[in-house]
């Protein structure tokens, strides 16, 4: 007999549609990590001496650290010597690539991902920096942005072309020693995007980075740095995919944002790394440190994330609210299905007066997955009149998955106000049958409920991204019930 619960059990997997491998000549360093490897990476990138020294310091510090174990995720030990720390498509010269120089295979890959660089350039008005394995392969729209004094380029290029900016800001928000993965990233980061918006400039288009892991047994360690100078505004998008592989791959990125006085930065992520198959084999380990600082008064940083991929996600985009009246926001949808695990949330550190933060977290668990929200709201003595509002909702699909919330509060003054709301709902067999009875098939019913549930977060995404994210949500949950 097929009972309702059996239907919920029937996990029909839909193939991860980004799971192809591109056949490109790669240059990959030998596996393992040592000072020599760090030197090699730095050398490959023609880095100045100070950058190499910075990396070596990070590496030496990393050697003294241990992997964190406090999160609510479980995975086999990672052998950090069984990973290649640098993989790059082979090219003739080391010079920054123009669109025409890109390997046609890579171009094809990005086309398959739906981000044809040329199309992007022509149609959508979004400037894209595409990172393929370790190397940034193209930055579109550069010229147009340069007119306004905006710098948007790969991190490697920034290190060479804008050393004074990089030197000033790199590691200023996420110090090398912040945590195990940020130290590792600092030692071996291969590429990423750099963005600087000068005083008073409103960036006229969305800036976007697309990350793609392709090579086997490699880790990807990008580093993104965004600096918004006084009174500027930028909206930044980040997307990511990877091929399907049986083994787990490591992704440990660092993103730093600096918002000066009156500046505003919106950072949106649609994370769709390969989640592993329906039996929990393979998938990306996604250990990411993202942090922004509202360093000037009246500044604002807003994180929006839609997390659907990765076998394991460990990620807490945070805001340090240093300037008076500054605002930090965190809008998150985290979906886990099958055997995925996510431990994600945010930290809001109130230091300045009248600082405000808003946290909206929507966790969705299906299959046998585990989904945890972990958040810290810390209000310093100096942060008089600070405000926080947190809303943490969990949605369970079926009864084999789990949702957990760990909200931490540290309030050191009495004139601040902190509000926390939390709900848990479940899409069970009774709700699905009700929808079916009204003519709505199960997959559509789940999409309907999930979209309603995530609306508040989706509304934060730029239009064209929201559509993509919504589609991704449905795909991730397809097969979560029979």
């Amino acid at each position: 007999m097929e009972t309702g619960m059996d239907i919920l059990d029937e996990v029909v997997s839909r193939d991860y549609q980004y799971g192809f491998v591109s056949d490109i000549e790669q240059e990959i360093t030998p596996k393992g990590l040592s000072e020599d490897i760090v030197r090699l990476i730095s050398n490959k990138k023609n880095e100045p001496e100070w950058m190499l020294e910075w990396r070596l310091k990070a590496y030496r510090h990393w050697l003294t650290m241990r992997e964190p174990k406090w999160s609510n995720v479980h995975y086999p030990a990672i052998d950090f010597n069984d990973i290649s720390y640098y993989a790059a498509p082979k090219v003739k010269t080391d010079a920054p690539l123009s669109l025409d120089d890109i390997d046609p295979e890579i171009r094809k890959t990005f086309d398959k991902l739906g981000i044809s660089l040329i199309e992007q350039q022509r149609l959508s008005g979004i400037a894209v920096d595409a990172v393929f394995d370790s190397v940034s392969v193209a930055t579109t729209f550069k010229a147009k942005l340069a007119e306004k004094g905006i710098i948007f380029c790969s991190m490697s290029e920034a290190v060479r072309e804008h050393p004074e900016l990089v030197k000033k800001y790199i590691g200023s928000v996420v110090p090398v020693s912040d945590n195990f993965y940020s130290a590792l990233n600092s030692a071996v980061f291969s590429d990423g995007s750099f963005c600087y918006i000068p005083k008073g400039v409103r960036c006229p288009m969305e800036l976007s980075t697309y990350f793609r892991i392709n090579a086997k047994d490699t880790g990807q360690f990008e580093r993104t740095l965004i600096v918004a100078d006084e009174g500027s505004y930028v909206s930044y998008l980040e997307g990511c995919t990877a091929p399907m592989r049986d083994e787990n791959q490591l992704h440990a990125a660092v993103v730093e944002i600096v918002a000066h006085k009156d500046a505003e930065v919106k950072y949106s992520t649609v994370q769709n790394w390969y989640p592993g198959d329906k039996n929990g084999v393979g998938g990306i380990f996604n250990f990411v440190t993202k942090r922004g600082i509202c360093i000037g008064d009246n500044s604002k940083i807003s994180w929006t994330q839609v997390e659907t991929g990765s076998a394991i996600t460990w990620k807490y985009p945070s805001v340090i609210l240093k300037g008076d009246n500054s605002i930090g926001e965190f809008y998150s949808v985290a979906v886990t299905n099958n055997y995925q695990q996510a431990d994600t949330g945010t930290k809001m550190m109130h230091i300045g007066k009248n600082t405000k933060s808003r946290i909206v977290s929507k966790g969705i668990s299906a299959g046998k997955s585990q989904n945890s929200y972990r958040g810290l709201v810390k209000i310093n003595k100096t942060a008089t009149n600070a405000r926080n509002f947190s809303q943490c909702d969990s949605l369970l699909i079926g009864d084999k998955c789990g949702a957990h919330t760990f909200p931490y509060l540290e309030v050191s003054n009495s004139n601040s106000m902190v509000e926390h709301e939390a709900t848990t709902s479940k899409i069970g067999e009774d709700i699905l049958f009700y929808c079916n009875q009204r003519g709505i098939p199960t997959e559509e019913a789940i999409a309907l409920i999930v979209n309603g549930y995530c609306k508040e977060v989706m509304n934060q995404l730029p239009m064209e991204f929201a559509v993509e994210a919504q589609r991704l949500l449905s795909v991730s949950l397809e097969g979560s019930v029979g």
């Binding site: 007999m1 059996d6 049958f433 079916n436 009875q437 009204r438 003519g439 559509e444 309907l448 409920i449």
Partner: protein, 250 residues
Amino acid sequence: MLSINNLQASVEGKEILKGINLIVNSGEIHAIMGPNGSGKSTLASVLAGRSEYEVTGGEVVFEGKDLLEMSPEERSHEGVFLAFQYPVEIPGVSTANFLKTALNEVRKHRGEDQLDAMDFLKLMKEKAKLMDIELSFLQRSLNEGFSGGEKKRNEIFQMAMLNPKLSILDETDSGLDIDALKIVSNGVNSLRSKDNATIVITHYQRLLDYIIPDFVHVLYKGRIVKSGGKELALELESRGYDWVKDEAGE
């Protein structure tokens, strides 16, 4: 329209329906009465295709098609509607949005275009008026925080929106005060036509003062033990179920 022949069904290995026979023609209203636990909701669930109920024998033909072969959503598309005894709450989805999705699924099934927003709104206003429902009510999450009576009224509102061929109302009257009962009955009566049919499951004869049935059946221990006209309901009201049980051989 509907022909149920020797239908048997069990849940968790326990036999609940033990051979139901029933014929419903278009234009008719049938009332099914019977003591608690006799299998009325089970019959409704089996007709709607709830998977935890296993059909162990018999057949059901709806409009010439084998109903038991169809998925719950196909049955709905074919025109079967169940007003639930215990409607569920769906967080984050408004009644309006829910019904728009449902209606468009039916239209898709029929090969029709999606209903545009204006036409949908017009239809919704018309039916809301019929059921004396405020439009603002329909913007709220489906059934979330609704009172028992509001949930039941919402069920009949959905029925009005979807315009089914066969409606099965499972104790829609329980929990309704007299005013709500009149509104619900009015709704059902005004939707009545020679092309559709209704099965009203109820405990009380009270509802049948407003929705006049053509036939009344008594379901007891998984069997229809007695059938008659509307006067049977009155008889049950005055004499209780015991005499039916006696006649059924207990």
